[in-house]
């Protein structure tokens, strides 16, 4: 019996001790892990037919709307946002110059930032603008405290002219790419 257990110990030592060697490992490297995905999504768009713009009796302002917009100030987003870019695209096929303003408002309705876009008369006018936030751009706090967005559309032309295009309209699209640090 004694020999048996001697043999047993020897075999276990052989299998787990002699054979199992390992190079030096540094598990603290795990703390260096950086996960920074870029998330992309459309934000909002406004599309107005020229006939609608002409029909608004109030001269100048054909649209004004303030709406709740919470994606930026959600805790998960606000705490992890590193930088971002909002891309605006404009297509104007109407006969009149248009101005669009985007106002970023906090929860109390205070204006945090305003983007003003002057859009030349169409048809065939297109433009894009990238607005960066974070490194080299506007303060990130504008985004992380934005709770509402106000969109204003101004007709800088008249209420009579009609574009030669078959379906004239002003289109504003917007999308964002944000860099997050998940870890």
């Amino acid at each position: 019996m004694k020999a048996f257990f001697k043999c047993l110990c020897t075999l276990i030592l052989l299998s787990t001790g002699v054979w199992s060697c390992s190079e030096e490992q540094d598990f603290d490297q795990f703390d260096d892990l950086s996960i920074t995905p870029t998330l992309a999504s459309s934000l909002f768009s406004v599309e107005a037919e020229e006939s609608f713009i002409n029909s608004v009796p109030v001269v100048n302002t054909f649209y004004s709307n303030t709406f709740n917009f919470d994606p930026f100030n959600e805790n998960f987003v606000a705490e992890r946002l590193l930088e971002g870019t909002i891309n605006y695209e404009f297509v104007n096929s109407t006969s009149k110059p248009i101005a669009i303003t985007i106002e970023f408002l906090d929860e109390a309705g205070n204006i945090l930032d305003t983007e003003i876009f002057d859009i030349a008369a169409g048809p065939g006018f297109t433009a894009t603008r990238d607005v960066t936030y974070g490194t080299g751009g506007k303060p990130l706090a504008i985004l992380t405290t934005t709770s509402q967005i106000r969109v204003n559309g101004f007709n800088l032309g008249d209420n009579m002219s009609v574009s030669s295009e078959s379906d004239p309209r002003i289109i504003m699209n917007s999308a964002a790419e944000f860099l997050f640090r998940l870890e």
Binding site: I35, N65, N68, L182
Partner: protein, 484 residues
């Protein structure tokens, strides 16, 4: 930190995880009583055996089909994020998996029928944990890279999420019968007492970001995903309580072990057939069974389809929506289209089916029949002369049913018997995890005490951290070859 853990948990498990249910060293190693557990029709020799409780059969196996511990954590001065990028994200595919399989034999008995000495009855109880998680490649890339930049236009396959796991206690009873000099058959009935079970398989769907129709981008998700759990909520509820946690956990665990949870049934079957005195073929099919989960169920579903292009205002159609909460409407619309819900519907979970087959050629005649020399080898007819061979060589095939299909392993082996007390078996196995898996097993018979030790992929022990596969099985039994 929590997110990091969630994201890298599969990697770590893959690195450290216990893997594979292939017991190629134990299979057809008929000197070891536990070989009955991988082939109930093995050529059983002993008159009776009793496993030393808890340590009669311990099986621990570890493997990785992708990255190793050393790949990630070697102190080599390379930036950890570069290693994760090059060795995990760029290198691993959706069929790379990690899994854990541990088996602890709690009770094991066997005896030969007094009136039917050709029958060997064995029964007992063992606990088994089996978890497999396939590397969710697209979901990992989505987490690390996001859907922006170069990934616009790319479809992320939600079907890459494949997870299955369970802890189960198994009560079993088997009969091994020598039909004639050439054929031995065996069957084992099993009663499964589930401790917990979860699975998320057969998922489908995509998430993509492409140029939109009404805005710059369109994020589109089509999902048909489900996570089914049974027996998990009970443990979570206890863990979330403040006091009495350990006692409650132990009580619940004991209850589930002793048939107090979800139950199932199954069977194993196997055979050994001598083609001629020196050539033997064997085969077995294990865990043909299921568990019917009706208690402590919580399933989660994500099913539907939605496309989001942000808040879209069309004039004049939407002029009446001034003052509406457009953002909340958008969120509600998406949640309604792709609802994340839970239910308590029962479900059936099948056990991981396993099939073994082998061919063995014996040579190097070492003596007369075992029965003549030592009174053992009950599994031979007294009047028949069965040659005893010192050497065996052969091949084995193992196939296991996994969520993504059947997974094979091919083994060549050589076995050497040194008298009646000591047997060596060495194997070379090729499977998806390793092409250099050399294993060694020993069986030692010291009087009535039987000890076995089986180790896999021994070459990798030179740097275990760089190993793709490692396993160890051992056990101690008391057995009788005759009437002692």
């Amino acid at each position: 930190m929590r997110f990091k853990f969630i994201v890298l948990f599969p990697i770590i498990l893959m690195v450290f995880g216990l893997h594979s249910q292939n017991k190629q060293l134990l299979y057809d190693f008929y000197e070891i009583p536990q070989s009955l557990m991988v082939n109930p029709g093995v050529n059983a020799q002993e008159r009776w055996h009793v496993g030393v409780p808890v340590i009669s059969g311990l099986s621990l196996q570890a493997a990785t089909s992708g990255v190793t511990v050393n790949d990630l954590f070697a102190n080599d001065g390379i930036d950890f994020n570069v290693k994760v990028r090059e060795r995990v994200l760029d290198a691993m595919g959706r069929r790379d998996d990690f899994s854990t399989t541990t088996q602890i034999e709690v009770i094991s008995f066997g005896y030969r029928g007094r009136n039917r000495p050709d029958d060997y009855y064995s029964f007992g109880m063992y606990g088994e944990t089996d978890v497999i998680v396939y590397w969710p490649r697209d979901l990992a890339i989505l987490a690390f890279e996001g859907n922006g930049g170069a990934n616009i236009g790319r479809g992320f396959d939600l079907g890459h999420l494949n997870v299955r796991g369970e802890m189960v206690n198994v009560f079993h009873f088997g009969v091994n019968r020598k039909m004639n000099d050439a054929l031995t058959l065996g069957v084992r009935a099993k009663l499964y007492s589930s401790i917990f079970n979860f699975k998320s398989v057969n998922n489908s769907g995509t998430f993509s970001t492409v140029p939109g129709e009404n805005n710059t981008l369109a994020n589109t998700i089509t999902a048909d995903m489900q996570l089914q759990t049974a027996g998990v909520e009970g443990f979570i509820d206890i863990l979330e309580q403040d006091g009495g946690r350990r006692d409650d956990l132990e009580r619940l665990f004991a209850q589930r072990v002793l048939l107090g949870g979800n139950l199932g049934v199954g069977f194993d079957a196997g055979f050994t057939y001598k083609l001629n005195p020196q050539t033997t073929i064997t085969g077995s099919i294990l865990d043909v069974g299921f568990i019917y989960n009706t208690k402590d169920i919580k399933n989660y579903t994500l099913q539907g389809s939605a496309s989001n292009e942000g808040i879209n205002i069309f004039l004049p159609e939407d002029i009446d929506d001034l003052g509406a909460d457009l953002w909340q409407e958008l969120v509600d619309e998406i949640e309604a289209a792709v609802p994340f819900e839970d239910n308590s519907d029962g479900f059936i979970s099948f056990r991981p089916l396993k099939v073994y087959g082998s061919i063995r050629y014996d040579f190097g005649q070492g003596g007369k029949t075992l029965s003549r020399e030592c009174g053992c080898a009950i599994n031979v007819t007294e009047s028949t002369t069965t040659d005893y061979y010192k050497n065996s060589v052969g091949g084995q095939l193992f196939v296991i049913k996994r969520p993504l299909g059947f997974q094979p392993a091919l083994t060549g082996f050589y076995q050497r018997r040194f008298g009646r007390t000591f047997t060596l078996k060495t194997t070379y196995t090729v499977d998806k995890y390793s092409f250099s898996n050399v294993g060694l097993g020993i069986n030692l018979q010291a009087g009535p005490i039987n000890f076995y030790l089986l180790g896999d992929n021994l070459l990798a022990y030179r740097n275990i951290a760089d190993s793709h596969y490692a396993s160890l099985q051992f056990g101690i039994n008391i057995l009788s070859w005759n009437d002692n």
